[in-house]
Amino acid sequence: MSASVNLILAAGGGSAVIPHFKSSGTCVTSTKALFCWSWVSSHWGPLLEPGLIQHLELTAIAVAVGFVIALVAALVAHYNHWFAKGFLGLSSLLYTIPTLAFFEMVAPLTGLGKLTIELGLVGYTLLVLFRNTLTGLQSVSPAIISSARGMGMTERQILLRVKLRIAVPSIVAGVRVATVTTVGLATVAAYITPLGLGQLIFDGIYSTFKTELIAAGGLAILLALAFDAVLVLAQRIVAPWASLTAR
């Protein structure tokens, strides 16, 4: 799985496997310690930071691709009722399939690489992104559309210049949920292909050494919260007219 050396450490009565055991400090060799900052600082460069960056990339790519697909699908669905129903049904079925099972089903076709993981992650973003975009487009008040028409706008202009802008809060709310969900699902993906922070979680999950687990889990949580905060800020800059409490 991983290139790092796993070292078997006899501690107390039982033996413990410490993944990525490099420089042992007193904290690491003590079985009582719950969390070792010394391990975190000595493994930040070689292990934690690359995992964090890889995780960030996985998430950003999946949400970006999912957003483009969902936006196009929502624009089509806005005019085609049957397409809306079909896409909604398909994406909610996809959303309910356990992530890990989905990766395992796609893997025979696309291999055990990044492609499989991204396919799965994109699939899981679709439902939330599509539903929120479509709801946003459809909840524009008829009075606004009438006035846009009265100003001489074409249907296309109304869609792109009026409806899409008024739908921004709903769309951003969808992107926020999709992004934090993807950060979580990407950790599970590491069970199939060792990637990102999930790799560190799975490396440490059967070990008695808890620091790696807590550090990787904590970083995943911080990454999700940071993504969420950045998206809230982005909405304030891109669409200052949109109320933040609207969802």
Binding site: L34, L213, G217, A220, T245
Partner: protein, 225 residues
């Protein structure tokens, strides 16, 4: 072809599938119960007071941002493997939809309705329990339905939290059960999730006060159109 083998797997292994499906439901039910116990009171009180909405939404979005596997991982460090570990992780998954929906449902009961209840001499807790809650039931149960689907579909992660009782033990062990087993377990999970959701939809209909049913149906059609 694979689908047929997956269905064959379910038929051939009832003693494997059924108990695991049963305990997956029990685990999910327990987690949903905890999520209700946390989400409902907070949503009801903040919704009734029509205050602290920012706080209620902040709790929801913060909990929503917690990756389930990360909670399991940190939980292993803090309180160990086992039932409690996976239940905490699943309950956290269920709280945001319940909390948000309850707040929105209770706080959006028409002001005129609440004032009429006050005018009849009802105390604040009577207004909440006898007027706001029945009016809010449809939307609250909508949140419970969403939460139940999330929880049932994610309960397979129990295998990583140290319990092999759920169908996750099949999904995480493709080496032993093959792709047919994985897909078979997935089909069972989908049936459980959508089955429970349908059951809750029925409850939603039955628990909705009769006077509201027509209005609710119209509102739902309006939002889905």
């Amino acid at each position: 072809m694979v689908l047929i083998r997956a269905l064959q797997f379910i038929v051939d292994h009832p003693h494997l599938i059924l108990p695991k499906a049963g305990s997956q439901l029990l685990l999910s039910g327990a987690a949903l119960g905890v999520a209700l116990g946390v989400g409902l009171p907070i949503g009801m009180v903040t919704g009734h007071l029509r205050r602290w909405s920012a706080g209620a939404f902040a709790i929801s979005s913060a909990l929503r941002a917690l990756p389930t596997l990360a909670i399991i991982a940190i939980g292993i460090g803090l309180y160990g493997l086992g039932f409690v570990n996976i239940m905490v992780a699943l309950a956290i998954l269920g709280i945001p939809p319940i909390l948000t929906n309850t707040y929105v449902a209770v706080s959006s009961v028409p002001a005129a309705t609440v004032q009429a209840a006050r005018g009849l001499g009802m105390r604040p807790w009577q207004v909440l329990l006898a007027v706001e809650l029945p009016n809010a039931i449809p939307l609250i149960l909508g949140g419970v339905r969403t939460a139940s689907v999330y929880i049932i579909a994610t309960a397979y992660l129990a295998s990583f939290a140290g319990t092999d009782a759920t169908l996750g033990s099949v999904i995480t062990n493709e080496g032993a059960y093959g792709l047919a087993g994985v897909i078979g377990a997935t089909i069972v999970i989908l049936i459980l999730a959508f089955g429970i959701e349908a059951l809750l939809a029925l409850c939603q209909h039955l628990l909705t006060p009769r006077g509201l049913r027509r209005g609710v149906r119209l509102a739902l059609e309006g939002s889905a159109a």
